[in-house]
């Protein structure tokens, strides 16, 4: 938007409104602090409290004709958005999504028609801009009824691209969204950044169990060794990192199946290599063969929540079949392992 586009009188009202409401300016540069913050939340640290204040923000030097982009108040989303607005003059209308990203917030009805209508009123947006047009992220659409927004506020809603890095192109194209820009992807990097949280959660859940088992080593007939811990660590890694990364390349459709397949393969391989079935305790080996792949299967199934292409009906169907098998194999396996651990003999 060029400055000449704006009539002086309108700019005065903008300046007035901006001063009166204290509209903060945001930079399109991320600082080290923002990058470190992003790394932390990707690892699951302080993820629930990574927010910015909802309200109106100015990027560059916007005037009454400038675009209004709407987004949520998860700081990671906010940072990705502003980083992609280099050189633009526009307004950001940040909704209160309680620090949740736009897509999940739409699912929870936090990024919603009501919140948008409300935020337009609170920020008195209609006094600041003279046009009546909002650009929303397409992923907010599950909870934004565009017709209702326009009926209640007079602002029309245009759904922009899914990814923030397409915004400049979208604007340059005269607000045309190409088919490509509308589709959610789930490529290697998308999956990679999601795995640290999965791993941290899996390790957190595993530590107490490991602690108890190593403590019982004192009086067990067949103590757990470093090798056993490594076998367990491998399936945790398989379920929470390896399966997500290799997702499209593992045969089959169900996540639980994919996780089981990799976990079973790796467990069988290492048991053979260590002669678990011939020299070691057969009961222990059988127990491991049942329990360990069940662990990676379960962890992989949990990744359905992070994936972008599963439906509730699909996941529920998968779970109705997989969960009983996981619980069955897991408990029989655990019983065999414990039996061998406490009362068995041999390595």
């Amino acid at each position: 938007m060029s400055e000449s586009y704006c009539k002086d009188s309108c700019c005065e009202t903008v300046v007035e409104a901006v001063n009166e409401q204290n509209v903060p300016s945001v930079s399109t540069n991320l600082e080290l602090r923002d990058v470190m913050g992003a790394i932390k939340v990707r690892c699951g640290i302080g993820r629930m409290n990574y927010k910015v204040e909802p309200g109106l923000y100015a990027v560059g030097k916007p005037n009454c004709d400038s675009l209004v982009l709407v987004s949520g108040n998860y700081k990671l989303t906010f940072d990705i958005l502003r980083k992609n607005l280099v050189g633009m003059n526009c307004w950001l209308l940040i909704l209160d999504t309680q620090g949740v990203n736009v897509w999940c917030a739409a699912g929870k009805k936090l990024f919603s028609t009501d919140e948008l209508v409300n935020r337009i009123e609170i920020t008195q947006l209609s006094k600041i801009v003279s046009h009546r047009k909002l650009i929303l992220p397409q992923l907010g659409a599950p909870a934004i009824d565009a017709f209702q927004v326009s009926r209640r506020t007079g602002f029309s809603v245009t759904f922009g691209p899914v990814r923030a890095n397409d915004i400049q192109l979208f604007v340059a194209n005269g607000f045309e969204v190409t088919k490509e820009m509308r589709l959610v992807k789930f490529n290697f990097v998308d999956r990679l950044v999601l795995t640290p949280v999965e791993l941290v959660n899996a390790v957190k859940k595993s530590l107490p169990i490991m602690g108890v088992l190593l403590a019982t080593n004192q009086f067990a007939k067949r103590p757990f060794t470093k090798r056993d811990v490594a076998a367990y660590a491998r399936v945790v890694l398989t379920g929470s990192v390896l399966t997500p990364l290799l997702l499209p390349y593992i045969p089959g459709k169900a996540f639980a199946w994919k996780g089981w397949l990799l976990g079973a393969g790796w467990t069988a391989f290492s048991l053979c290599k260590n002669k678990g079935f011939t020299k070691g305790s057969k009961v222990m080996s059988a127990g491991q063969m049942l329990l360990l792949p069940a662990v990676s299967s379960y962890l992989a199934m949990n990744f359905t929540g992070s994936s972008t292409y599963t439906s509730a009906s699909g996941v529920e169907k998968e779970m109705r079949i997989a969960l009983p098998l996981i619980i069955g194999a897991g408990s029989v396996g655990a019983a065999l392992m414990l039996g061998s651990h406490l009362f068995g003999k041999g390595k």
Binding site: Q138, M301, G305, Y309, A312, S313
Partner: protein, 94 residues
């Protein structure tokens, strides 16, 4: 569709349905769908790739003719387990 073709979850599970008689061919559903489920036919929308639907509910909410229906939900195992245990609608903690 090329981009999402590699990722496929289970088939024939989505609760999405289209009442073609009501459709006015406005294309709003096609704009909001993140998985390329819709293609515009001759004055009416076509469910070109129904199995790609993730039941997000965006199309049904934004269809001015109420031609689309879907039971929206989250495709997230831990949310569904939590929903079973607490006997409530699944909601994820993402």
């Amino acid at each position: 569709m090329i981009a999402s073709a590699r990722h496929r979850h289970l088939k024939n599970v989505t609760t999405l349905s289209l009442d073609i008689d009501k459709c006015v061919g406005c294309g709003a559903c096609q704009v909001v769908c993140p998985h390329g489920v819709f293609e515009m036919g001759e004055g009416k929308i076509v469910l070109a790739d129904k199995d790609a639907c993730i039941e997000c509910g965006a199309c049904a909410l934004n269809c001015p003719a109420k031609a689309l229906a879907v039971k929206p939900g989250v495709g997230c195992a831990s949310a569904i387990i939590k929903g079973w245990i607490t006997k409530s609608e699944p909601s994820c903690d993402c």
